[in-house]
Symmetry: C2
Subunit: 931 residues, 2 copies
């Protein structure tokens, strides 16, 4: 900013490299650093003397005061420390008083400095000083800090110094140089503080980056009514509207804004009180936006009418704002379309999709509290105060909001049963907040008006509520309400669902615009996982270029079908099974017709049956209990015999590890009649739809292939039935046969398998399971543990450590060294690039070597995770497939990957045929598009 | 043999390449083949004319007759066809009669030829001719074939010719050239017959090898009492004793020996009847053994006092014989020690270990039948006639022998519950035989005296038995007895167990000698998997060079411990769990002391707890049933509450896929107190034993590592506790910390993991499970199906196909093309070299790159499988570890691999330190031998 000619108090910066060296050298400076600091302090003194003669660091008559602040490569709001007024001591305070001719101001600055410095640099608890201040006000019958006069403040200074000695065993440092050194150390050390480390883990900021230290001459906003301090955004961070937005506090220092002792005024008030400063600010705002080409947040101080800028950085914003700002800035020719696409983060797009409260209704409710908006969306439901309550209420069909003082990994099941969480303690990185974002739940953390009393009642603000009472939480802004505010779909979702016209929604238009631009850049196709026509409609609405995964077994959980399915699975003979399959055929065919119609012109990948058999069967233990009941109760012997027969069959089909048992293609190989039925349905449906003019490109996907022979056998059956049906219908359907790569063996044998398979779709859910040996159903607890090792007592594993004393509150173990987290992320959410990704790369290499035009996609849940999409782009896949609501996120992520990493030639080549396939019209040609 | 100057009837050979061409050309000869055959037939005529003037093929006055036989690269006894007397027709038979002056001989030869040729070449059923022959004998009141005179035989010839026409629609071919061409085709075709293909699959003979065709002038053993035919081995094929061993039939043709219509005499009788032939035979025997340097089987014919050798090949032998012959031949300087080691197959060594009947007792029992010895060993038990019976009887604590007409995959569970199988039908490659060898069960297949009547009784020879009656079966020779013959350990096992002195057992000495030689050549170390001191004794007895896997959880299935273990697992708090761990510590320590003492001077790899948690817990369904019973029965409410509490905890611990859940290092990470207890026991035990002068090299193995951080965390805990215990005991124990590589992710991340792990042991059981996605508990049925696809109806999957008509007897589907087997072997038995082996190779490369002195071993059950041992040798592992009884087999396989493939430099290097580790005596050195 100084280089731009903007008024900034003079100062200098110690670079982040110095922080790295400091950490490596175990809290020692690299050679020369201190000398350099001293040298630049002298220069600073000289610079300041130009405006005010004989000012100097430690100069008792006209002292130079400085602020010492952190400044990192990535903003970590609230995580790092800063110290103001540094340079004050018993002598210099007198110089300050003399110079400003304001005794109260001088002593006030000094007592603030002692408290701030001792808290941050010397590890004294903040409460020590607050208590003392409180006692002083009580004894003098003062209501506010401002009521304390100079002598009271002088007394306070003495008392503070005694307290410092009592708590640290040493005097408050009087030497300004020593203060400076200690201050710098404290900033460096705060980089390695627990809060900062936790924050970096979440936002994936490398530990090695380190923090810079900014040393800047102090300016004072508390020098009267022509002074003040404030924070503004250059555009609205919540709506994105292009107007100055922020707060201002007259006659105050920066910390007063943060501490919230006085209520700041909207920035527009500045115009009225100090018009020349406001004018300067609007000019600077425009200059900075032009320079940085982004929305900024600015900190400023006005000292006796003179505006100083203290800091600027790219402003945090909501998703809604991010999209609007990006699109507007393209219109204003500030940025290019590529930049706009890069500016919008995938989570920003998500915010367009979360449910919201009806704004008119919400306005009628009274806010009972406000916490941190830790998980976006809006949710209303009955209060549960324990995880068990949540589970029970959910089981009874209720919507549940879990309200806790704070959550712990033991609450996971209860959290999973809830629509949202509200906690009294904890910040944006607390357990509740992290889990909420992982699970996609609404969450408000650290709402201090919440007070949980045992497991039956809770106080929220002025309301006393019991479990089962309704509350509503707004995860966009952190508001908490009593009562059941109706939740509605977001504008974008309403448009997709057809209940709102696109032209009526400005939001939708911004949303659509940025995705339209994303599509200009991306090379990766985006498909959706959809099992029924309804989902296909949504998928198309969000721009899916086909279906990448239709799980045919999902079609059979419907009530009218589950019975047939169960009988089919329990059939003992092929003849019996075929009877049930005959019943399923027309239903299945109708499903496919529906999907094809929605996906006209696009490919539809249909996975053959991969049912979790046990989910279709009666539970063993239920049958056992039934039998005992019947036997003891002397019930109908015919029914008893039937139950026993059923149990016998269930026992036969029982598997110890269903995940590794009779699944996927194994079922189709042991019972090829199932494959036959499905292929018949797929091809008959295709014939019917093409007769009506549709363009259908079915891709038949054989699941869970691990052995070449499995693929070969199933392909033979598929081709045989397909040819037969096409002959019967007298039509040619251009279909492909491929496989899901979801077993480690399939990756290493990909070369052989690609001889038969015309496409691979990486089933990364299952591949992650077998690569790690983690069952998704069972391993959540382990993965959560692995991600929270750092927070646990190494002896008893409890997450209950006193952060100051490092003593475990549960087992009283004194923690010397913290454990490291074993996992930084859940591999089921974000693709494990090196392990699972390594196998995927082996499969791609070997598969493409065997079949150069092999089509490659991914259809695990990772298909909608931005980091995983980037991996897929770089690995050269043709497409990703994800749930319909993740399609926009995947489109954006794919575009960002292409802009950041370029388009790989193989990806471009491979993606061509799937974009829009040509219909094969000629008769007599081989039907599949294989070589 | 001709080149050695041994008398062989003249002839020539069509090479195996011709067979390959014939198959490729769809049963057409390659150009020039037939002309060449004709050319060599003329030469053969000329050669024969030298001994007998004017003989010629088709010459009616003095016809040349030939045999047409197969001759393959590997012997396939009984699988391939041959035709004798080819060249006979209505004219030439007269010439034969005239020439031999024996009308009966001539017509007998002709009628035999018609039957044999029509059966083999023209696909007429053998029974057609047998029935006709039988009717003829009945109508003429003749008891034996030999009683039929020339005119009866002439009538038979006419009747046979009519039968041929009726069954084939064509005349019996009179043209000798046509006979020859058809005969050659039939031999070629027999290579692709189902029996031959099935045999090749089992013995892993490539289909591409093809068969040769040998065309040889006929000599006749049925020309009077100075003629005859026989088969001899140059040494005893059952004991290996160096003496001519075989059978002889005077005045007979080869087929009579096979058909068993007359009882042959021992070969020694030949000396009495035709002494000059016997003398020639003994001379030839010696000459051939010197030439081929192996034990041989010989077929010969004596025609009017003149000995002709028809065939020789390396003789099949029992394991006992194979070892004795190999050792003896080294003594006789016929072969080298390397060759001796290569001559002994791993299965041969196994035969020394199978239980046997007490020979004195067995001799007192009457044989009720004899079948094919399809699974070696001796077993006695109660008869079960259905798999269900077998399961029930086994559950009641009985030893079971399953007796079936034949077995099918549906019987697998019953087979698994039995000690042995006896079937009425099926050969060495039948389902029962294959399964028996896989499961290591005793099996006698195709015992024709067995007749099963329903599911309650069975006739075996003259005995009528009911289910539950005792029978005894000898799988070495195929004998079946009624009654319960005591089974005893083999001589070798008796020596190992210390109940027989080595010097008293010649068998043991031969066994030990060949393994002593094996040890001279191998570079791979062999360790044993042993969990308790008893097993360690056996392991050392068999020459194990340490323990490669001690599964500590196995120690806790003992009755006195399982309760503590269960309580430990069910404990809800760390404090609670530690109480039970304290109880386990002394027990565990004692176990280790026992193991160390047995393995003095050798490494002992101890795997930390990897318990199948659910096996230690009460069953959920049992508890549920108990609760219902208690509730309905109005039982003690206190006990009911306790059961409910227990159920609640079991539910908490319940896993859907225990294989992929809380196992291995995950347990030690979530509950580090378990690891602490175990490490304490390991190191305390080591301190105690070294104090008493023992040399202990514990290797602590962390199971189921998939993530670098897991290894790091556990290693920290291990090192912390180990240092503490060593300080307490004031001793230094040289221990290592390593991991079991048993997850796919561990293989691809091996580089990182090796930064922490000092050794890798490949846990190929689990690695196979996760690589294939096969749970061992559940996938047996699928794997069995995959290995038997060829035998199944492609429509209904039944194994019940009429091999002649290729119609499925179950669903009447006409099979056009057979399926291919998806798996040729069970990957849990023989390592999947390309899939699982591919991952192992990745792990070796990356692990060694990160830590060049990384010790590498394998401890899955594959460690005792010869083919897998070969893989391990070639991959450069340091050692294999297998169950104690597989140690000798692994030693032999390792030697054979080294001889066949050379010693890889890395293997030699890597194996050095494990052979016998140096004790680290110096104090103050870092205890682990890590870098």
């Amino acid at each position: 900013m100084t280089n731009l000619g903007i008024p900034v108090p003079p100062g200098f910066t110690i670079s982040t490299e110095a922080c790295g060296e400091y950490t490596r050298r175990r809290r020692k400076y690299p050679p020369g650093l201190w000398d350099t600091v001293i040298k630049y302090m002298s220069r600073l003194e000289k610079t300041m003397q130009k405006s005010s003669p004989s000012i100097g660091f430690g100069n008792p008559s006209n002292p130079l005061l400085v602020s010492v602040r952190s400044g990192a490569r990535a903003s970590m709001p609230g995580m790092m420390d800063s110290v103001l007024n540094l340079g004050l001591n018993d002598q210099t305070v007198q110089g300050l008083i003399k110079k400003t001719d304001n005794e109260r101001f001088g002593y006030d600055a000094y007592r603030r400095f002692i408290a701030m410095f001792s808290t941050i640099v010397m590890d004294v608890k903040r409460e020590v000083f607050e208590e003392c201040l409180h006692d002083k006000k009580t004894s003098l019958r003062c209501a506010h800090d401002i009521d304390l006069d100079a002598s009271a403040l002088r007394e306070l200074i003495d008392e503070f110094k005694i307290l410092v000695h009592r708590h640290t065993g040493r005097d408050f440092p009087q030497n300004p140089s020593e203060q400076l050194r200690m201050g710098i150390n404290a900033i460096f050390d705060s980089w390695n503080g627990d809060r900062a480390i936790a924050y970096r883990r979440i936002y994936k900021i490398p530990d090695a980056w380190g923090t810079a230290v900014n040393i800047m001459a102090m300016v004072f906003g508390n020098m009267g009514n022509d002074s003040g301090t404030g924070v503004v955004f250059t555009r609205s961070p919540s709506s994105g509207d292009a107007m100055l937005f922020g707060e201002f506090l007259s006659n105050a220092q920066g910390e007063d804004v943060v501490a919230g002792v006085r209520t700041p005024q909207p920035i527009t008030k500045l115009e009225a009180t100090i018009p020349e400063a406001y004018k300067a600010l609007t000019k600077i705002q425009r200059k900075l936006e032009r320079h940085y080409r982004d929305m900024l947040d600015l900190e400023f101080t006005v000292q006796k009418g003179q505006l100083y800028m203290l800091q600027t950085r790219v402003g945090k914003r909501t998703g809604i704002a991010a999209v609007k700002i990006a699109v507007d800035m393209v219109k204003e020719r500030l940025i290019t379309k590529e930049e706009a696409v890069l500016r919008v983060e995938p989570e920003h797009i998500e915010q367009y999709l979360y449910p919201v409260f009806d704004p008119n209704t919400e306005a009628r409710y009274a806010k009972q509290g406000k916490g941190l908006p830790a998980g976006p969306g809006a949710a209303a439901g009955k209060i549960a105060l324990t995880p068990e309550q949540a589970i029970t209420m959910k089981a009874a069909g209720d919507r549940v909001i879990l309200v806790r003082m704070e959550t712990s990994p033991d609450d996971i099941h209860g959290m999973s049963a809830s629509s949202g969480f509200l906690t009294a303690r904890g910040g944006m990185t607390s357990h509740a907040a992290v889990v909420a974002r992982q699970m996609g739940k609404v969450c408000i953390a650290g709402c201090e008006t919440v007070e949980v009393n045992g497991d039956s009642s809770v106080r929220i603000g002025s309301a006393r509520l019991n479990r089962g009472d309704f509350i509503s939480i707004n995860g966009f802004d952190g508001s908490v309400y009593c009562g059941d505010i109706p939740v509605m779909a977001s504008e974008v979702v309403q448009v997709i669902q057809g209940t709102l016209k696109p032209e009526k929604s400005e939001r939708y238009q911004y949303f659509a615009k940025v995705l339209e631009w994303a599509d200009m850049f991306r090379s990766l196709d985006v498909r959706a996982n959809a099992d029924v026509p309804d989902q296909a409609v949504v998928a198309r609405g969000f721009g899916a270029q086909g279906i990448g995964l239709c799980r045919t077994e999902h079609m059979f959980f419907a009530e009218d079908r589950v019975e047939i399915m169960r009988s089919m699975i329990m059939a003992r003979s092929t003849a019996d099974r075929m009877k049930y399959l005959d019943d399923l055929l027309p239903l299945q065919k109708q499903d496919f017709i529906g999907l094809y119609q929605q996906m006209d012109g696009y490919p539809v990948t249909i996975r053959l049956f991969d049912p979790p058999l046990h989910e279709f069967l009666p539970k063993r233990e239920d049958l056992m209990v039934q039998i005992v009941r019947a036997e003891l109760g002397g019930e109908d012997s015919k029914k008893l015999a039937e139950t026993k027969r059923m149990l016998a069959r269930v026992e036969e089909l029982h598997e110890f590890n269903p995940m590794l048992g009779l699944r996927g293609c194994r079922l189709g190989i042991l019972m090829p009649e199932i494959t036959r039925m499905q292929v018949r349905a797929i091809i008959e449906a295709a014939c019917e739809v093409t007769k009506a003019g549709g363009k259908i490109f079915p891709e038949i996907m054989v699941p869970l292939i691990g052995i070449w022979g499995e693929m070969k056998t199933q392909k033979q059956v598929i081709q045989e039935v397909a040819s037969q049906v096409m002959t019967e219908c007298d039509r040619i359907i251009p279909y492909q046969v491929g496989t899901m790569i979801e077993l480690p063996r399939a990756t290493i044998m990909a070369g052989e398998i690609a001889e038969e398979a015309e496409f691979f779709s990486f089933g990364t859910n299952d591949l992650t399971q077998t690569t790690f040996g983690f069952s998704r159903d069972d391993a959540a607890k382990i993965i959560d543990f692995y991600m929270t090792m750092r927070d646990r007592c190494p002896r008893c594993q409890a997450i209950d450590i006193d952060q100051k004393t490092m003593v475990c509150r549960s087992c009283e173990f004194h923690i010397v060294e913290r454990a490291d987290n074993i996992l930084t992320g859940d591999p089921f959410t974000t693709l494990d690039r090196r392990g699972v990704g390594g196998f995927i790369q082996i499969a791609i290499e070997r598969g493409r070597a065997a079949r150069p035009d092999l089509k490659l996609g991914i259809c695990g849940e990772h298909g909608g995770d931005p980091s995983s999409v980037e991996f897929c782009h770089r690995a050269g896949l043709s497409y990703v497939s994800c749930s319909p609501y993740r399609v926009p996120i995947a489109r954006l992520a794919a575009a960002q990957s292409a802009i950041n990493h370029g388009v790989s030639a193989s990806a471009r080549l491979a993606s061509l045929p799937t974009r829009r396939m040509r219909t094969v019209k000629k008769r007599g040609k081989i039907a599949t598009r294989s070589r």
